[in-house]
Symmetry: C2
Subunit: 176 residues, 2 copies
DNA sequence: CTAAACATGTAAACGGTTACATGATTCG
DNA sequence: CGAATCATGTAACCGTTTACATGTTTAG
């Protein structure tokens, strides 16, 4: 379901696009929240076209097909956004790893967290550059999500630094 | 892969357990980072047993089978934790929704964010109670992860509140 | 002319969800 | 004895990943 929603959403905010465009845009934008490659996107667009959620607006060179959201599709997107079902899927391999940090030696766990801090700092710099770059132009699609992404990255970064410090501290006490 | 890791990790920190135990523990602990039901867990344990990552330690009443991690299994867990591949899977339906908030009317988006604030506050209270309850007893499995969970929940909560305020403000300006 | 980028598709294998199916033990 | 809980499994279906497969246009 979420893939359909992602595609409907992207088509709504960016206007008519091809599967190829959507695949690229996926990576650059909602790739932080959902992943899908062209081999999943092309069939899905065809299915949605068959069900009347999108239409093939025009066919261009190189077999390019441009899709647009129909009224039925727009309604489905609306429903998904507003229906407050409590079953929102969430999967996070990093968080999973956090659970099992204590199965490592303290110095290993701390080292791992230090690399995590670095990785998140880099990610943070990247996202902030993106935001600042946009601010000079007009506001774009995904501004709220970008803000959330920055805040979450900062939070995870702080957690990793604090946790590394805690682990190093108690390991130091253990061997005075 | 992640399911196997989750099971190996749980078996490592809690000691020998049955598929039934692991299913329940899954919900209560790493359910925040990964979801799996018994219909996925039982076959996976059998596969891992066949591959020598776990062994059936003992069989109890009602067909109960208790599994334990082997040295080979422990090594696989270690590898997964330490291998710093940059491809850590992340999926978040809530974040996906954040991307498409601008397709709604401002008052709808703001209302949706307000319910999000409430939901996260409730979740936050739940997680903090869990942590405080544990602090009085001895430190348990998943303490670092719980800390991360609390911080992330707080962050999302703040974001939702701030974003709702921003949207309401600019909607107010539009109709003075 | 040739390499890169554009553009779309299918198929096999794998992972995950929902529903079906069964039986043993314990508690009231 | 009946209901709840313990305990395990299978099968059908759907979603996702990886690999295969093909052809067009543009830029150098």
């Amino acid at each position: 379901m979420s893939l359909r929603i992602a595609l409907l959403g992207l088509l709504t905010v960016t206007g008519p696009s091809s599967g190829y465009d959507l695949t690229k845009l996926f990576e650059r934008s909602i790739g932080y929240a959902w992943q899908a490659g062209h081999s999943q996107i092309y069939p899905e667009l065809n299915k949605m076209a068959a069900e009347g959620w999108v239409t093939v607006e025009q066919e261009g060179p190189r077999g390019r097909k441009s899709y647009a959201v129909t009224d039925a599709g727009a309604l489905e997107l609306r429903r998904w956004l507003l229906d407050k079902e409590p079953s929102r899927l969430y999967r996070d391999e990093r968080l999973l790893r956090a659970f099992f940090l204590p199965t490592l030696e303290p110095h290993e766990a701390a080292a791992l967290l230090r690399t995590e801090v670095e990785a998140h700092n880099a990610q943070l710099a990247h996202l902030e550059a993106l935001r600042d770059d946009r601010e000079r132009k007009e506001a774009g699609f995904g501004d709220y999500a970008l803000d959330l992404g920055i805040r979450k990255t900062q939070t995870v970064c702080d957690w990793a630094a604090d946790t590394a410090a805690t682990i190093e501290e108690s390991a130091g006490e253990a061997r005075p």
